[in-house]
Amino acid sequence: MGVALVAFAVSCGAPDDSHQRTPVTPVGDLEITDAYAPAPAAPDVGSLYFTVINRGSEPETLLAVETSAGGTASLHEMTLVDGVMRMLATGPFSIAPADTLKMAPGGYHVMMEQISVRPEVGDTLDVVLSFSRTGRIELQVPVLTYTEVARLLQGPGDHEH
């Protein structure tokens, strides 16, 4: 299985980058976009976000995530039930044909735990995604501030004037 390297360029600190999209990079039947990681606020716990679009005709499953921060990385989903926000591990995550796994704060994220190399703002986090059909995809993910990550979530029409 070949290894594809995908690099993301996100201009950090631009005053109005709130609706910028990272380049769409196809690997096999998959497109990976909008990858970013906030610099962890805690020494050992952080999160990572990206979006996977399945352009193929078969389901794909995201089996595992590894990062250069060390420790473990697992896909989680935030759910709000009866006013309680909970974080649940999803396990391997299947993406149907033409479907998208979109990660964003308050929804899906990859949680990094027991981090041994704490990513700093401006660093690049090396990430390897393992898929059931496409195999391994390597990403280089920009490390942003939490403030920038929150900004990236703002939709059109939310720009400041």
Partner: protein
Amino acid sequence: MKLSTRLSTVPLLAAIATAGCIPDVPPRPEELRGASYSDPLEKPDFTLTTTAGDPFTFRAETDGFVTLLFFGYTYCPDVCPIHMANIAAVLRKLPPDVSREVKVVMVTTDPDRDTPERFGPWLANFDPTFVGLIGSLDEVNEIQGRLRLPPASRYGEDENTYTVGHSARVIAFTADNRAHVGYPFGTRQNDWAHDLPLLVKSNWGAR
């Protein structure tokens, strides 16, 4: 007719000018981006310990300020830091006469792991003036109950990797020591930038 209208407008304009454009009435619910409480919350009187080890009597220490109160924990990599980062970013951009009237207090829902040594630097990542408070989980849940928030509860057996379910709402107290509005997760920086000046300049609890 027209003259009398003009004349009656003049004292009103003068009153607004002398009051520094403070509106005469509190903001209406539809003017705020946050979720208004039909029955406002009374600011609870409790004392917990800051990350510096000092007692913090919430009601007295925050009296007269717009006070944003949040319950969360440092092993939360998503909702909690995003909330804190959004509020901190907006406070940095607002005029000083607004931002100095706002206090931010976060109470940990994970006192077993959120030691002062861990929680203090975590919160200071966002803004060194934010106040981090630690108490027993029973104390914290009792306070949350008074604020009509569900209790925080622990999920998972592993001592290192358990998670804590908790309310994702930031409660905004105004100078009248009541909360008329709360902010769910998903509140954006522009929403905070819109509402915080209104909350500061509202005459809820005008002194």
